[in-house]
């Protein structure tokens, strides 16, 4: 029996285990939408294609399964671009399917034609323009394989309308044949041995955990490593949750808004073990002075990340979880003497680092003051009332950094935040995707009043499907992080960062059919959060009127060394 391209697409997605698609219809994808009606796949209609890409991304980050989004040709496809770039920068497995004008019209500037494979070339792991329906099953199989293996990433499949109509016999391949794509998963045994030896020889080791530890499911191995060889642990924004945030050895995030203890530890460590992290400029500060006394072990599945920003002593290419498990095996098999050799020094080191942690904690003033609520208090209250068990998405800026600092993530895949690209407007649609992928859990989008408006239309999506996400707006009527930089680095000249005439967020929520709540003091904050958490049938927007000029501290000025922290209490 012959099937149309649209039917083949839907069948192939079902074969790949796809249960959910986020999308928005249009002329070039009408065939596909017609077939989706008869399929077991649940389609969520977003209100802007960017929302579809972010929702699929939030779904992927919080479930570990690939997210799928669908848009029509031309503007539908270009509206996905920011979402695809967001997923690319944070290595999120995303499948973007776009409609395209008929093959006979390609290259003629036809109505709603855009060269989306050309446009997304630098922001996808790979992409396809399918010109023959016979190629479609293989392309879908390859797309999922590429998106989810090795270093995960987005793959785009562009489908001309005539290809969705054309018919052929359907046979789904059971394996991929890509001789040019063979990611390395297990580390080289000799490098594993060397790494284990360096760990045992180190007096001041520091574990530096990134997003690769989450996509590589390395949490168990991380815990074992720290149990065998006790050492302090720090994480990047993307790595939060891979190691328990409440563990006494966890120092918090490092880098620009890192803790004093984490940043001091990088300066003093004699060994840095980087697990699935990429030495981003927001982490290292001024590169030549990053971890100046340390040898570096760098474990990464992407060989191109190793040696890209810092010289590495022991490079290990492979999956973070598998490599760490192998290192742990070697350590566990080592002699008690070998493990005891530097144990006393390591204990002194750990004590010293934990003293920094105790002496210079992240802190803020009173929960409320005449200038408004402390935004940090709001995040802490969210943490308390959810017992730290919520899935949190963030926007970008101050709201993101306060969340990273004050919500302690004990489990992987509990935080979805745009780290690499820094996309404002990510968090609300990502929360929708996260909630759909995790129906039993509380999902909260920590937002700012600027970011909230960037994809506010997705409240309509959440209302339509009764998705009970919670949006917590830290409303300072500023683009807070921009204002903070203007205060610190531009002599208080607040150019275009004031959002005084923004709308009433409670009324906005109500107009969409969501619940709108507002808190202006500490008591109301507690009540509003409790009320919001009790609502399970529709979205809630909480508007927290926070101190307008609160700053994220500590802060390391851009491109400065990590010891140049401002506001860490060390001056």
């Amino acid at each position: 029996m012959k099937l149309s391209g649209a039917e083949i697409l839907v069948q192939s997605l079902v074969r790949e285990g796809v249960e959910v698609i986020f999308g928005y219809p249009g002329g070039a994808v009408l065939e596909i939408y017609d077939k989706i009606l008869d399929s077991p796949i649940r389609h969520y209609l977003v209100r802007h294609e960017q929302g579809a890409a972010h929702a699929a991304d939030g779904y992927a980050r919080t479930t570990g399964r690939p997210g799928v989004c669908l848009a029509t040709s031309g503007p539908g496809a270009t509206n996905l671009v920011t979402g695809i770039a967001t997923a690319y920068m944070d290595s999120v497995p995303l499948i973007a399917i776009t409609g395209q004008v008929a093959t006979s019209l390609l290259g003629t500037d036809a109505f709603q034609e855009a060269d989306i494979t050309g446009i997304t070339l630098p922001i996808t792991k790979h992409n396809y323009l399918v010109k023959k329906v016979e190629d479609l099953p293989r392309v879908i199989k390859e797309a999922f394989h590429i998106a989810t293996t090795g270093r995960p990433g987005p793959v785009l499949v562009d489908l001309p309308k005539d290809v969705t109509v054309a018919q052929t016999t359907f046979q789904y391949p059971d394996r991929v044949d890509l001789p040019s794509y063979r990611p390395t998963l297990t580390g080289h045994p000799r490098q594993i041995e060397r790494a284990a030896a360096e760990i045992l020889a180190a007096s001041k080791p520091l574990l530096y955990v990134g997003g690769g530890a989450i996509s590589g499911c390395a949490s168990a191995a991380l815990a074992k490593l720290v149990e065998l060889v006790p050492m302090p642990v720090t994480a990047t924004l993307m790595g939060l949750g891979a190691f328990p945030g409440t563990d006494p050895k966890f120092l918090g995030m490092l880098g620009m808004h890192g803790t004093v203890a984490a940043n001091y530890a990088t300066l003093e460590a004699d060994l840095v073990i980087a697990v699935g992290a990429r030495f981003d400029d927001r982490v290292t500060g001024y590169l030549p002075s990053f971890a100046p006394k340390a040898k570096i072990i760098h474990i990464d599945i992407d060989p191109a990340e190793i040696g890209k920003n810092v010289p590495v002593d022991i490079p290990i290419v492979g999956d973070a979880g598998l490599v760490l498990a192998d290192i742990v095996k070697v350590l566990a098999a080592s002699s008690a003497e070998a493990r005891a050799q530097k144990a006393a020094e390591r204990e002194d080191w750990l004590t010293r680092v934990l003293r920094w942690k105790a002496d210079y904690p992240l802190k803020y003033g009173q929960p409320e003051s005449p200038t408004g609520l402390a935004p940090q208090f709001v995040v802490e209250e969210l943490y308390r009332q959810t017992n730290g068990e919520a899935i949190i998405t963030t926007e970008v800026g101050q709201n993101q950094m306060w969340t990273a600092q004050f919500y302690r993530f004990d489990r992987p895949r509990s935080l979805a935040s745009s780290g690499g690209l820094g996309t404002m407007g990510y968090g609300l649609p990502a929360a929708i995707g996260a909630q759909i992928g995790n129906p039993g859990r509380t999902v909260i989008n920590v937002s700012g009043d600027g970011s909230f408006l960037m994809n506010v239309q997705e409240l309509a999506t959440a209302v339509q499907y009764g998705i009970p996400i919670k949006v917590a707006i830290l409303n300072n009527q500023f683009l807070g992080m921009v204002r903070q930089w203007q205060e610190l680095f531009y002599n208080h000249r607040y150019s275009q960062s004031c959002l005084r005439s923004n709308p009433d967020n409670v009324k906005i929520a109500e107009a969409f059919g969501a619940v709108g709540l507002r808190a202006t003091n500490a008591q109301e904050t507690k009540e509003v959060i409790a009320e919001a958490l009790a609502i399970t049938d529709r979205p809630v927007v909480m508007d927290f009127m926070v101190d307008r000029e609160a700053n994220v501290l500590p802060i390391v000025p851009p491109n400065a060394s990590l010891d140049k922290m401002i506001g860490g209490g060390t001056q």
């Binding site: 050309g118 070339l121 630098p122 790979h126 323009l129 040019s180 794509y181 040696g307």
Partner: protein, 161 residues
């Protein structure tokens, strides 16, 4: 900074050249020359890319190229005994008086005159880059009118691997 000749086997598919050229452009790697053509296997093309880079950049070029799904194999053949060739066509001013003089230079370099006109000669020459440069130096005094080069292509010598 030194010059490197990189041999890249790629899937012979539409858009592959764009993927490679785009990668070089957005990561700020400089291409001195790039030549591409089908191999004995029509599904595979060979790209010969000449780059000037320091060792860290070269490592990144290698690794980033390797990440492209359509790249099958990369070999830096700079230090491997190889045959490097480039084809150049050069149109040079020539008068009846100096035509034979130019013809002698052409013979010395084992080049070939492929077109003769009253005021110009068009010459074809193949060789490695230094030979082509030396030849060009000899012709400059006569006046170069037009010039076209293919960029280097290369194969490793049979008993050199």
């Amino acid at each position: 900074m030194s010059r490197h000749v990189i041999s890249v086997l790629v899937n012979n598919k539409p858009g592959v050249l764009t993927r490679i050229a785009g990668l070089f452009a957005r990561r700020g790697f400089n291409i001195d020359s790039l030549a591409v053509g089908e191999t004995q296997d029509p599904a595979v093309s060979l790209m010969t890319i000449v780059v000037t880079a320091n060792s860290a950049t070269l490592e990144q070029i290698n690794k980033q190229l390797n990440k492209l799904i359509d790249v099958i194999k990369i070999v830096d053949i700079t230090d491997v005994p190889s045959v490097l060739r480039e084809l150049m066509l050069v149109k040079v001013s020539a008068t009846p008086a100096n035509r034979s003089e130019i013809s002698q230079i052409v013979n010395i370099f084992r080049a070939k005159i492929v077109d003769v006109a009253p005021t110009a000669l068009t010459i074809e020459i193949t060789g490695d880059e230094s030979k082509l440069t030396a030849f060009l130096q000899m012709l400059i005094p006569y006046g170069i009118i037009e010039l076209a080069r293919t960029g280097t292509i290369a194969l490793v010598r049979s008993n050199a691997k």
